[in-house]
Amino acid sequence: MSVSKNWKNYNQQIPDDRYYYARSCIRQNFFPGSEKTFLTILQDLLGKDIYDDPKHTSCTGIAYHSDIIPFETMMTVVARHFSLMTEAGYKNLVPSCVTSFGLYNEVLETWEHHPEVETKIREMLWKSTRREFEKPEAIMHASDIIYHFRDIISDHAQNPLINVQTGEPLKVVDHIGCHYAKIFPSKGIGGAEFPIVLSGMVSSWGGQSVDYPERRHCCGFGFRQYLVKANRGYSIANSYRKFESMAPYKPDFIVANCPGCAMFLDRWQYTIGEMKNEWFGANGQGIPILTYEEMAGLVLGFDPWAIGLQMHQTDCEPLLKKMGISYDRDKKFSLKRKTILLNVLEEEIQ
């Protein structure tokens, strides 16, 4: 029953280097530039050793949380990830997805309380793949790392979170993924109780973080909520509740640290708009939503299309204008963009 009495217990130590990156299975479709941006920032700007393993797979979190695959299967898949990491010679596991973050922690916690389960999973992994593994020394979510290095990023900021038309800080509302903040609150930075992982970035980069009443409410994703069509009205009602709560503050954008949250807060705004003709942003538009990597990318001066902003259903262009970021509209949907990110980066960093 040991209880965390204050914020200090919610402030984990983040290792400074040598990370093993675990990509999200869904993010590359939703916001494909985010993970690339993260890697670019870590490798090229911060000069860190972070390994992006091509052999890595889905953690099965969506299936697990939807009761489609059993706990043992999930644990064995996770054990394989640990094994890949051991093989690559890393000890600091950095999931891109908050659900993976929750899952990895859940597996380790289970093994701590039930060592016999760990033994069983080791056997299962051995039988199925002839693999062995060491457990990670540290698990931190990718947003923890950006938070950790936020001040260095701030030193390189090209476009601070300031409205260039008014000179005022941009007003930013955050949404922290439930699987990051509420399953093992004390394993993240601030959990749901002291939500600072995103607002800490916002204030470090010149913006103003705005608290709003439903800040800790679910984004509406919730796996089972939306996977079954019969529940979808429930999913969208939860998103609606959040939008209704944040809209009066007239936020310039929303930032999220979860693949699903960013996706749902983006797409459901459009869906609600179509269903009810109700729009939560200015001028009959939605409130732009960024992943924290996209936010960092914009601050660092990356090309908006190179980081994938054209994939957003809720238009980000009004935000780019507010931030004074010039962009080429004609290139928004061009497919020949492979090299842009790298070129831009080289220019910026040199």
Binding site: G233, I236, M275
Partner: protein, 109 residues
């Protein structure tokens, strides 16, 4: 024009005090102030003649009425037989039979 995607936005079932109409409740409290003393003990529902077979819950009904959700219970109110057993057991001396009567009258008026 609005679109349908094959599902709608679920309505909230929570009690939103800010948006409810409290006029009926205020009137009830004026006419039968003893209802303020209710502690939610459930004696009235426990003894109620109508409760066991009809699912009628006088404690819940008058509590929700006081919360400002008067309209939701019109059908429920029909289940009371006005036998007055509830008033006899109430440890707080709430005249529930009269509360029942007033709720009906207020809604009907």
């Amino acid at each position: 024009m609005t679109h349908s995607f094959g599902y709608s936005i679920s309505q909230s079932r929570e009690t939103n005090w800010d948006k409810l109409d409290h006029r009926f409740a205020d009137k009830l409290l004026d006419l039968e102030p003893s209802v303020r003393l209710c502690v939610g003990c459930g004696s009235c529902t426990g003894t109620c003649t109508a409760a066991p077979r009809s699912g009628f819950d006088i404690r819940k009904v008058h509590t929700r009425f006081r919360r400002g959700e008067a309209g939701a219970f019109v059908a429920e109110l029909e289940k009371c037989m006005f036998c007055g057993k509830c008033s006899m057991v109430c440890p707080r001396g709430v005249n529930i039979r009269n509360v029942m009567d007033l709720m009906k009258k207020l809604i009907e008026a």
